[in-house]
């Protein structure tokens, strides 16, 4: 068990280097939200500013509305099922 610890640590270090490489590679690309380029900085500035959370809520908004409609639909359908079941059983 103890013998495997150094090899695990070596594996972990290799994995960390690999991940770091993945994040450093896009620096050569022209743009991405994580890139350290002029466009990357513009993207970050356009995303992570005072408008982030209001925009987040705006994009999210249709989904809570849909969930409310689904809850109403569920309760209506359950009532319908109960009514038709009690009609069938009599």
């Amino acid at each position: 068990m103890n013998d495997s610890l150094p090899s695990l640590r070596r594996g972990g270090a290799r994995f960390t280097r690999m991940i770091a490489g993945v994040f450093l590679l896009p620096m050569a690309a022209s743009a991405c939200p994580l890139c350290n380029t002029e466009t990357g900085q513009q993207v970050r500035a356009g995303l992570f500013n005072d408008e982030f959370w209001p925009t987040f809520l705006m994009v999210l908004l249709p989904f809570p509305v849909l969930l409310i409609l689904l809850a109403a639909m569920h309760s209506g359908l359950t009532r319908l099922d109960h009514r038709s079941s009690s009609r069938n059983s009599t």
Binding site: V43, L61, L66, L70, H74, L77
Partner: protein
């Protein structure tokens, strides 16, 4: 005495999947293939790489939500499949799927295209006939889907386990 039937679990799973896959249809067709709009294309017009990437980020968040809805639908479908009192009706499921898709088009259309104005179906036209056609498709899907569910309810009165 007949065992009571309960089609609600199948309807709910179909509706969730309709919302999720309807959202994916919108994202794949309009955002990616036709590229007529993106999530915030009215706010960030696609005139620069940075603006396109900002839109891509918010498109990604939108797709996370449609993915979640599809996943919930799949779990509900799995659970409905394990119940003997749920009539296993393709007509009910398809109807519910269209109700979900219609709900998505209607709610997303009203909120994003007409209230918040964050994008329009064809961004270069602004608010146009395409936005109203999108809402109309939602209403038609809901009516058609609901009619299918109702007719299946009359046909499938016997539970699967009976």
């Amino acid at each position: 005495m007949n065992q009571p039937t309960n089609s609600t679990p199948l309807v709910m799973s179909g509706t969730f999947m309709g919302i999720g896959l309807g959202g994916f249809f919108d994202g794949i067709l309009f955002h990616q293939l036709l590229q007529v709009h993106n999530m915030l294309s009215a706010k960030f017009p696609k005139t620069s790489i940075a603006n396109m990437e900002i839109n891509m980020f918010w498109d990604g968040l939108f797709h996370c939500l449609t993915y979640t809805m599809t996943l919930i639908g799949l779990v509900l479908l799995w659970k409905a499949g394990a119940r003997s009192d749920v009539p296993w009706s393709g007509k009910t499921f398809t109807g519910a799927f269209f109700v979900g898709w219609g709900l998505f088009n209607l709610v997303e259309g009203v909120i994003n295209h007409h209230i918040l104005n964050i994008h329009h179906v064809v961004e270069s036209h602004g608010q146009s006939i395409f936005d109203y056609a999108f809402l109309a498709s939602g209403i038609l899907f809901i009516i058609g889907g609901w009619m299918a569910i109702r007719s299946a309810r009359k046909e499938d009165t016997r539970p699967r386990g009976a």
